[in-house]
Symmetry: C2
Subunit: 124 residues, 2 copies
């Protein structure tokens, strides 16, 4: 990961929102679908781009793919991600995403038996 690639990845609003959410912790594809209210293809493709460029990684959890930021990040990347995290206030879209994430996670913790799918993707 070098700087030009990093900025290019964040230059798309969908990817920016994804990365912003991942700063708070890992999420699966269907959660992104719900939180960003965007179609599955779109989410999957942007996640694929982020993964190909080495900013995020994915692990399968039975049927679900859980994405997270790459863990061993170089100094420069850490600094920039920290700056991003610290500069979200005032960014309406990003803040709303975080709020939605909070609600989603709290509903998850109240019903520990729920799979991701039963929360976000469908029909309860």
């Amino acid at each position: 990961m070098n700087l030009p690639v990093y900025y290019q990845l964040l230059s798309d609003i969908t990817r920016l929102r994804i990365v912003s959410l991942l700063l708070e912790g890992p999420l699966c594809v269907c959660h992104f679908q719900e939180l960003l209210d965007q179609p599955q293809v779109k989410i999957s493709k942007h996640l694929a781009i982020l993964r190909k460029k080495g900013l995020v990684e994915a692990k399968r959890e039975s049927n679900w793919m859980v994405y997270d930021l790459i863990q061993d990040r170089d100094r420069g990347l850490r600094k920039n991600l920290k700056a991003l995290k610290q500069s979200r206030s005032g960014e309406k879209l990003l803040e709303e995403d975080l709020e939605r994430r909070g609600r989603l996670l709290s509903s998850l913790s109240k019903n520990p038996g729920l799979t991701p799918a039963s929360i976000c993707c469908t029909k309860g």
Copy 2:
């Protein structure tokens, strides 16, 4: 200036180099031409984009246009620019730009009578 716009501006390598240089201080168009070794149109157009989006400002100095980062920057922007500044080491291109800038400015200070033009744009 909001985050999405900011990242989009930096997603182009030429603009990233320009902004990186401006972190060290103002420069005129012909300096950018020399330091980045890129044609005038290209430099001018990217500077126009940066200006239109509110990241840089320009003031005319007789025949030359001197560009600088916008001075009153919001908190988020400051944080991100600081992170950029701190994460340049290891980025070959950006480091070379800074070295070239150093050489250019030292030659300027040795010959205080020189206009920008007599340094960078042409035929001594």
